[in-house]
Structure formats: structure tokens, C-alpha cells
């Protein structure tokens, strides 16, 4: 006869409910049709109950305190085989630590069964209270009784979406209940109410588990979520390569030497296309046969505040992607100005600053700095002010062909962008102002 769980020499104290749960589990496993010993995967937590793994002839994995439900969830999703029964052995302490893992697995309704051995305290470490310890229960750490009511793990798991949840007082034969949990597709959980014979009885000598459970409102219950779908990890065998056309730029066979190297710092506000415009400028350079990089800086909030884009263009491969002294600084908003003010104060070499005419700023060192004040925000509106500004720079400084820039704008936005208006405004730009 096959044996899943050897009941000889169980490693638990005399009188401990863990023994009774073990006996019932073996009975339940025997009752499942066509279940082989190697169809069972035991995932055990830390604590007294965690050492049950060596009693098993099935597969076993023994992990960290409170994390066994997450470890089991990983096994369940990756294995994706309902024939295999995944059993999680965990105590009330582990369930407190790993509460979110239990709820996550219940919420996904993963194929697994969590057996919570609630002996009302952390047994291995001297009997401290857990989140599942009943109110009034005395422990070494709470000699006057626990003052906070226990978490109702059954209600929580059920609300999260578990297919089957049950609370059982761990006395007598409840193997049918375990067998039902094992047979239920999806996530099942049983909370066994026990009393730790070493620390529980010592501090609460006159109490029985059933009484304690009743006083705390954690009485035997059975909840189900009928016909809830079981989570299935999707396998996509034919995902598209990331190195496809969307990242490729057709390169002209132009003589790259006719272009000058430059670095440009575009400083503006989130939502005004700073990063995209920087990319389009870099793409323009690449399409001219040059090398280019685009580095972005912005606060984590993404949608508000400053946005900085740093573009380097060279006629040889670029290694270092930082800019030590920018050749051009384009400032389109007050937030951009505030962000680059420290850079403006430190300018060492020759720099041209393009700045919206509404913005005022001071420079410590004006040597070698050319300042061009223009209306950058109104010609195409704030949303497109950075695209407009870069076109202005290209027109005035003749860095790269405007036609190539327009091509890249068109490639990026297509009909969503009014390219003709941009072209007209740039072509009519009055350089005398």
C-alpha cells in the first residue's frame, strides 16, 4: 500500500493537534482516486509544523517563515497541472507573516491547499501571540491575555476569492473535509484550531480550543465561491522580437563629415514632449549617418514637473553618454529653467542658449554664451513647444537638415501632427528678432 505521509515517529509534542491533522491528512490523501505519492508536493513553512516534510514520501520543499504560500503559488502557476496536489503546511504565525501571500493566491484562485495550523501562538520561539491568536488568550508575551481580536483568516480568504475555506476544531476524524479541500479545483484553505500543549496549556490551563474559538468568534465555518475560474498562466510561444522595424532608422549615405558634433540640453515641462522631441532629434542625426544618444531625466511623478532631455550627436561612435558642457541649451518653460539653473551657473565653454522670451534668468559667467530669446511656446502651443523649439534651433544653427527632421516627425506622429503648420511657421521665422 502506498504511503504519502509516514505517521511513525511524528516529530510533534504529545497532545499536539499537529499529530491529529497529520493522521487525517494521510487518510484524506488515500481517499483521492488515482492519486500517486509523487503527485503530491508539500510546501512547508517555518515553525513546528514546518518539519513535517521529512515524514512525506512525496515531493517536499521547505522555505522561509510566512513565505510558503507564495512559494507554493510559484509552483502552482509554473506547473499548471491540476493532477498534482500542492499542500502548504503553515502555522498561525506563518499565516500572519504571509497574510498577503495567502490572499494573493486566494484572489488568483490558484490550484493549492493551505493548511493553517492555528495553535494560537508562535510555538518554536517561546509562545508569542500571532495575528490569529484569540482575544483573551494568554501567552508568555501577553500574560494578561491578548487584547486584540484575531484576524478571521477564513473570512479574509473567502472575500479574496478562495474556492473553498473551512475552519475545523482539530479533534476527531475530519479527513473527509481535507479530502474535499484537495478535490476542489482552485484555492482551498483549512484553518485547524489547536492548542499548543507546551505554551498554550501552560498559560491557559482551563481552556479548550473550541471554547477559545467560540469566545473569539472564530467558530467552525465553511465558505465557498462556486464556479470561480482557476488562474492559468498564459504561455505565448510566438512573441515578436524586440529588435524589429519599430526601432530601426534608415540611414542616408550622406557624408557624415559635413555635419558638426554637438550636444544639446532640452529643458521643459512634463507633458510638453521633451523626451519625444529629444528622441526625434537624435533619430534625425542617425538618419543622417551620425551617432546619437538621448538621455532623459525627470521626477518619478512623470506627469508633472520638469523634464530634461540630453542629446549628443557625433560623427563617430559615442561611448560616454553624459554632457560635460552643452553646446546648446533649449529652455521652454519655467520648470525647465529652474532645473538647469545650476548648469547655467557652471557653464565653462561656448554655449548657445535658446529660451522662451517670457523667461528671465541670470548668468554668472556670460563669456562665450550666446542667448537667443524667442517666442517658443505660442507658435505651436505648449504641447508642441519642444518640437517647435528644436526645429528653430536646426533652422538658426543649421545643425542638421530640417527636411530630415520633418521626416522623423512624420514617421513618429503621422497624421496626428500638423507638420505643414510647423514647416510654414519655421519657414516664416523672423530671424531679425
Amino acid at each position: 500500500m502506498k504511503t504519502f505521509l509516514s505517521l511513525n515517529d511524528l516529530p510533534f509534542c504529545k497532545g499536539c493537534g499537529h499529530n491529529i491533522v497529520a493522521i487525517n491528512t494521510e487518510k484524506a490523501l488515500q481517499r483521492i482516486e488515482n492519486l500517486e505519492v509523487l503527485d503530491v508536493i508539500v510546501v512547508s513553512d517555518i515553525g513546528c509544523i514546518g518539519i513535517i516534510d521529512k515524514q512525506y514520501n512525496s515531493h517536499t520543499i521547505h522555505g522561509l517563515h510566512g513565505r510558503s504560500p507564495a512559494l507554493a503559488a510559484g509552483i502552482s502557476m509554473a506547473l499548471d497541472n491540476p493532477k498534482k496536489k500542492i499542500l502548504v503546511y503553515i502555522g498561525d504565525g506563518g499565516a500572519t507573516i504571509g497574510l498577503s501571500h495567502i490572499l494573493e493566491a486566494a484572489n488568483k484562485n490558484l490550484n493549492m491547499t493551505v493548511l493553517i495550523h492555528n495553535n494560537m501562538l508562535y510555538g518554536m520561539t517561546g509562545g508569542q501571540p500571532s495575528g490569529l491568536t484569540p482575544i483573551g488568550f494568554k501567552t508568555a508575551a501577553t500574560p494578561e491575555g491578548k487584547k486584540i481580536p484575531p484576524l478571521d483568516i477564513c473570512k479574509l480568504a473567502h472575500a479574496a476569492g478562495a474556492a473553498r475555506v473551512q475552519r475545523i476544531i482539530a479533534i476527531g476524524d475530519f479527513s473527509n473535509d481535507i479530502a474535499e479541500a484537495l478535490k476542489t479545483p482552485g484555492f482551498s484553505l483549512i484553518e485547524f484550531i489547536e492548542l499548543c500543549p507546551s505554551y498554550g496549556v501552560k498559560y491557559n490551563p482551563d481552556k479548550k480550543p473550541a471554547e477559545l474559538a467560540k469566545e473569539s468568534g472564530i467558530e467552525p465555518v465553511l465558505y465557498t465561491n462556486v464556479n470561480r475560474p482557476v488562474y492559468k498562466l498564459e504561455i505565448k510561444s510566438d512573441t515578436k522580437t524586440l529588435l524589429d522595424d519599430e526601432i530601426t532608422i534608415t540611414v542616408s549615405k550622406d557624408d557624415q563629415k559635413k555635419y558638426n558634433n554637438f550636444s544639446l540640453l532640452l529643458a521643459g515641462s512634463a507633458g510638453e514632449g521633451v523626451q519625444t522631441s529629444g528622441e526625434i532629434l537624435a533619430e534625425t542625426a542617425i538618419s543622417c549617418g551620425l551617432s546619437a544618444t538621448k538621455k532623459g531625466s525627470y521626477p518619478v511623478t512623470v506627469g508633472v514637473g520638469f523634464s530634461l532631455s540630453e542629446i549628443i550627436v557625433k560623427n563617430k561612435p559615442i561611448l560616454y553618454t553624459g554632457i560635460e558642457n552643452p553646446d546648446y541649451i533649449v529652455i521652454t518653460s519655467i520648470e525647465g529653467l529652474q532645473k538647469v539653473q545650476p548648469i547655467l551657473n557652471e557653464l565653462q565653454g561656448k554655449t548657445t542658449i535658446f529660451i522662451d522670451k517670457s523667461l528671465d534668468f541670470e548668468l554668472k559667467n556670460k563669456n562665450n554664451v550666446e542667448i537667443i530669446r524667442l517666442d517658443l511656446r505660442t507658435p505651436l502651443g505648449a504641447r508642441n513647444c519642444t518640437i517647435y523649439s528644436l526645429a528653430v534651433v536646426l533652422k538658426i544653427k543649421n545643425l542638421l537638415p530640417l527636411e530630415m527632421f520633418y521626416n522623423r516627425v512624420n514617421t513618429r506622429f503621422g497624421k496626428k501632427f500638423d507638420l505643414e503648420t510647423l514647416k510654414t511657421k519655421i519657414s516664416n521665422l523672423d530671424l531679425t528678432t
Binding site: L38, I41, I51, D53, K54, N57, H59, T60, I61, H62, G63, L64, R67, A70, L71, A73, G74, I75, S76, M77, A78, L79, N81, K84, L233, E234, I235, K236, S237, T239, T241, L242, L243, D244, D245, I247, T248, I249, T250, V251, K253, E279, A282, I286, L290, S291, A292, T293, K294, K295, G296, S297, Y298, V300, I318, L319, Y320, T321, G322, E324
Partner: protein, 380 residues
Amino acid sequence: MSITNSLNSNQNMQTKAFIDGSRLIVESLVRSGADLFIGYPITPSNLLYFYSSRRFPRMLAAPDEITTLQWMCGAASVGLLPVTATSFPGFALMIESINMAVMMELPMVIILTQRLGPATGTATSGACGDVLLLKGMISGGFAVPVLAISNFLDCWILAHEALKIAINLRTPVVLLTSKEMVMTLQDFDISRLPDLPKLRMNIYQKDEPYVPYEPNSTGVPEFLPLGNSKHQVRITASTHNKKGIIQSNTPDSLQNSKRLHYKIINNLPSFTFYELDEQTDARTLIVSYEVTSQAAREAVSLLRAQNKSVSLLIVKTLLPIPDIILQTISKYDKVIIAEENLTGQYTECLFGANVPPKISKVLAFGQMISPSMIVKEVMA
């Protein structure tokens, strides 16, 4: 499908890619055989997460980083090759579970995208401040392979090598990078990328009972997935003997634990990666790794253009430290180590508190190290 064919279908048309390193890392890992990405999209690893969700055959969005590593361990124990990407705050949460993965000998790749700390720090600033953490993250001082990416080509090659080490040595491997390497866009000729063979776990095939922690000649046990129908598999994070039975400090179990360290150290020659560009008359050596490598390469060009002889060592197998690193350093009169952190963490890994006078550090905190900072130190 070769990369060149997939991209330059029209051979008359010359094209270039404009990409970030994240894209190359994810593509490389999937082509190399990684099965599953699990993660939480912490900045600046979010592009890795985003690309993975499109490219990996399996993708799991985890609610947090402890769950991430636990799910990865579960998936690895049944034979999948999992990958995650994170940054310090998430990595810190993973460390207990990485210790578990080391003890369980589960293969996985953890991409650590460094950002400016301490704590939450500045999520959108790069840094290279987690090296000492990596050195000491396993209780007992055990080695975990750490490969540091120095450029786009490394994103491709070292991602593959990281998976290979994870499989061959049955260990978590850290692929170390930082914000600018994985987020800055750059033109790149992807026809330079070599094709990558698909990697698979070696599965125990024999009929004799499986002993889960019985090492082969390289010190690594053969793998058999949990849940197989042939042999019982026992896996545990607690100190255990070869059979996977928990034991308190017996000679067998201690021997097994020590093996976990020495299987990495003894196999180090099989994963020693570095780049050495020596000039025969040079007496000065620049050493760098990770994102600062690019500034170091540029500094070397600038120096040589001024007829200053200088050699360059780019370290790619960051941890454990291969012998060749200290051997190379020992040959030079002056050595500059450039790294983007406050105190010189890799220098401390190399020399402890007793840094020889010939070593000088070029450091930066909250900014990239520029080529001129390195040049200045060489000329000083």
C-alpha cells in the same frame, strides 16, 4: 532567425537601431531560453519589465519583491528558468529569498538596475552603489556570481552568460547594471550581435533513486523538477544533508553548505569575463566596470591621442573576483579605479581597508563619472 536577417530584409537599405540596453537584455534572455519574467516595475527597471511583458513566453506581475523571488523559486523548482529586474529598494526585500535560492540551488537571473540611494533616494538617477551589498548579501559570506554590463554588446552577451551560469552552477546570478545603461537611447548596429544558442537545464535521467544534493564532478547536483513522476525530490532552505533532510551542523550538512560557496569559486574560470586593452609601454592602468566603463574607454582614447600611454581593464565578472584582476593591477605603477559611488566599493572588495598607495579612486555620487575626471586623475 538571425538578427541581421530579421532587420535588414532589404539588403540595399542601410539601417541602424535606436535603442536602450533594456531591450537587448530582454531579447537576449528570451533567445537564450529564459521562460518566465516575474517582477514589480520599480524605477529604473521599468523598461525591462515593460519589454519582458511583451517578449517573454510567460509573464507574472508580482505585488512586491518578496513575492517575486518566492514565485521565482517555485517556478525554478519545477524546471522553469525565471528572470526578474529590480533596483535597490526591491532588491533589499529579495535578499532573504535569494539566500533561500542559493541554499535550494535554484537557477535564476536577477537584473539589478542600480539607482541613487540611500533608501528610496532618487529613483531616476543612476548610481553604482550596491557592490558591497552584493559581496556580503549571503549569510556566511557565500559567493553569488555578479556580471557587470559595460556597454550594449554586454547587454546581449552577458545576459546570455548570466543564464548559462545560473543553469550550469544552479545558482541565482546577478546581472548588474544601472539607469543610464538600460534607459538611455543610443544608435546601435544590431547586425554585430552574435546568434545565441538556446540553453536548457540538464535533467537527471537515471533510474537509481535521485539524491537531490549529490554533486557531480563540478560540485553541482543534477537537477530534477519537483512534481516529476519518477523520483522523489526534496528541497530545503535549512541546513541539510545530500538527501535534503534538515540536519543541525552534522559534518555532512556543513560540507553540503560549504559546497555551495566552493562550487562558485572553483568554477570561476568558466565565467571570468573582462576586457584588457594594454599598451606595452604603459605604466598606468585605468580600471572600471558597469556604466563608468564607457567614460573610461573614452578617457583612454583622449589620453592616447595626447600620446599618453595607458592601459585599460574593464571588469565584467565583478564577483567573485577573478585572479586576473589583481594580477593585472599588480603589473602597473599607477592604477586609477573609476566607479560611480561615494566610497569606492569595488576598490574595497579588491583591497579591503588597506588600499595600496599606487591606487587612486575616481568616484562620483549623484552624477556620472566623465572622461575628463579620469583623464585629470591620470595626469595628476
